[in-house]
């Protein structure tokens, strides 16, 4: 797979680890990245806060350059990704805007290609199985809260690769790496974005809430695919701790860092040592846990095998003994004969279950003479009732008819009560 690559400003600056680990992830998964020529800033939130057409034209210049290559675009930064998707959407759905944008950037652009985010690329384009195959150092024992924030999944008409309320793409990826993905309610809550800089009184509380929620739900680390979320949760974690007089010490990782590490990269290669909240030790702890879990699993498998072996030997011995003494009773007790006597009943019951499930009306008519009452019975047929009726039908048809009549009476009584 070959993609046009738009790193965006952050990946060369504050999000340098994201840039390093994205390139490593691409190399590991066999994706060729061709950096977009002379790309410019997407304008981010400041752009659309200030001037609508500017906020579409800045991304459009990059997209028009990419369109010449005929490649889809990878934009790892969630903000760039969101601005690109918004521009593509506008150009595809509004001819008037499209013409205005083309005039401003002095380039033709018709949004033929598609911009991808990292979670979309990983979960939907590469596929979880391919990632799982590459894992050499499983993250078993890691408890990760996957944090999607706002811009990856909203608005769903522009992004659309995952659920807006309970996205799963990154959860699937961390599970494929061996980690546990924690269910938590704040996965798409906003970190406050630039408010942490412009209005720390507001932004710090938003950062604090996300960290607190992750900790309360049992997460030991947070996984992100957005450099701004990383900056807030990692670089500004200390400020949030100070403001609320708590200690979190929650390491934050880019999803691409975890892939590279699980696929054998050293921590330094992807920039784990450049985080503000120490993030290397937890990865060591996870590795130790994974090793322990592996030993425990091997031990358990060995014990189980030995147990099975001993059981087989004992059974063989008993059988031989029985054959030698000619004890007919012991031979009768072998499970085989027991199974054959039970078999017809089970088969019969299964047959009735299938018939009751597939054709409740017809079967109800067999059990209840009155056609109106048979209709009632058919309408209330659920798994529990089907099971009970099937067992009785296999045993004694009269008993089944009685039970059916009782179900009907019960239902009629209930309906009567409802009307009262």
């Amino acid at each position: 797979m070959k993609l046009a690559y738009y790193p965006g400003c952050s990946l060369d600056g504050s999000g340098v680890e994201y840039g390093l680990s994205t390139r490593r992830t691409a190399a590991i998964l066999g994706i060729e990245l061709e950096e977009l020529e002379d790309w410019n800033c997407c304008g981010a939130t400041s752009g659309h806060n200030t001037n609508k057409i500017l906020s579409l034209a800045l991304p459009a210049r990059n997209l028009a350059i990419a369109e010449k290559t005929g490649l889809d675009i990878l934009a790892p930064c969630a903000a760039c990704y969101n601005r690109f998707r918004t521009t593509e959407h506008a150009v595809r759905h509004d001819q008037n805007l499209k013409e205005k944008i083309e005039a401003i950037i002095e380039m033709p652009y018709s949004a033929k290609q598609e911009t991808l985010s990292i979670p979309d690329l990983l979960a939907n384009k590469i596929g979880i199985e391919k990632i799982r195959e590459k894992v050499v150092s499983s993250l078993t024992g890691m408890k990760a809260a996957c944090y999607y924030g706002c811009l990856l999944v909203r608005p769903v008409e522009h992004t659309g690769f995952d659920d807006a309320e309970d996205p799963q793409s990154m959860d699937q990826v961390v599970k494929a790496l061996g980690a546990q993905a924690i269910d938590w309610p704040y996965k798409t809550e906003c970190c406050g974005a630039a408010l942490a800089t412009s209005r720390p009184d507001v932004g710090t509380k938003m950062i604090y809430e996300v960290l607190l929620n992750a900790r309360e739900t049992g997460a030991e680390c947070i996984v992100t695919a957005c450099p701004l979320c990383m900056m807030n949760l990692d670089m500004r974690q200390k400020a949030a701790e100070k403001a609320y007089n708590v200690k979190f010490n929650i390491p934050i990782y880019y999803i691409t860092e975890l892939i590279a590490i699980a696929c054998g990269d050293a921590q330094k290669t992807v920039g784990i040592d450049r985080h503000f909240v120490e993030a290397g030790q937890y990865l060591v702890t996870v590795k130790e846990r994974a090793a322990e879990a592996k030993i425990a699993a091997e031990k358990a498998a060995l014990e189980a095998a030995e147990k099975a072996k001993a059981k087989a030997a004992a059974a063989k011995e008993a059988k031989e003994k029985a054959a030698q003494t000619g004890d007919a009773a012991a031979q009768d007790k072998t499970p085989k004969s027991g199974e054959t006597s039970a078999a017809p009943d089970t088969k019969k019951i299964d047959g009735f279950v299938t018939a009751l499930t597939k054709n409740p009306e017809k079967m109800a008519a067999k059990l209840v003479a009155d056609s109106a009452q048979a209709g009632v019975l058919a309408s209330i047929m659920d798994e529990k009732k089907i099971g009970k009726l099937a067992i009785l039908m296999a045993k004694d048809m009269e008993l089944a008819k009685k039970a059916a009549a009782a179900f009907v009476q019960q239902e009629l009584k209930r309906q009567g009560e409802c009307q009262d």
């Binding site: 909203r154 608005p155 809430e209």
Partner: protein, 189 residues
């Protein structure tokens, strides 16, 4: 009846402004039945003078100046939770954006800090074609008189290779300058 408000726009110009904002946002305020789901989910509502539902209500009542003067539009982080959850399909975030841009045009900025940040950010893009993170902070701190804000983060960021001292410049800087100029001429729409 001392506190009564008029339930229709007071003037034609206000009416026209509201429909222009709606058009820019691609949404209709009349769809809103004031359920408050936007406010309930808004992660920044705790800091707003008028939470999202009330901003929409102000617009519904024709009180457009009041809407333009809210601090809320500057506190809104554009996270789009409101728009994505609205049961009536009102794009509240896009409206917030349109109101914010209009307030900027009319010079009614109630939160100077957010506006100063945006200006510093875009200046970097206009001059160099890319974000100049170090320059952004210096510009922003100077504009808001908070000279030492985040100063403690500067050195560690530099040491970690997370911020360059000099800006990265692209070749097509002239093209970017033109984009800014033309966008300004068009008045944003």
């Amino acid at each position: 009846m001392g506190n009564a408000v008029k339930l229709s726009p007071t003037s034609d110009s206000q009416k026209a402004l509201i429909s222009r904002l709606e058009k820019e946002a691609g949404t209709s305020i009349n769809l809103c039945y004031q359920c408050g789901k936007c406010t309930a989910g808004c992660p920044a509502a705790f800091a707003m003078d008028y939470p999202p539902r009330q901003v929409i209500r102000l617009l519904q009542l024709g009180l457009v100046e009041e809407a333009l003067n809210t601090e809320s539009v500057w506190i809104c982080a554009s996270c789009e939770t409101c728009s994505s959850r609205c049961p009536r399909g009102v794009d509240i975030a896009a409206l917030m954006d349109a109101v914010r841009r209009e307030a900027l045009l009319q010079n009614r900025v109630t939160d100077k800090k957010v506006a100063a940040f945006n200006k510093a950010f875009l200046n970097g893009v206009k001059w160099f074609g890319r974000t100049y993170e170090a320059g952004l902070l210096i510009q922003y701190n100077t504009a808001t008189g908070q000279y030492l804000k985040d100063a403690e983060l500067g050195l560690p960021m530099f040491l970690k290779g997370k911020v360059g001292i000099l800006p990265e410049k692209i070749k097509g800087r002239d093209a970017i300058k033109k984009i800014f100029e033309r966008a300004q001429e068009k008045g944003g729409e």
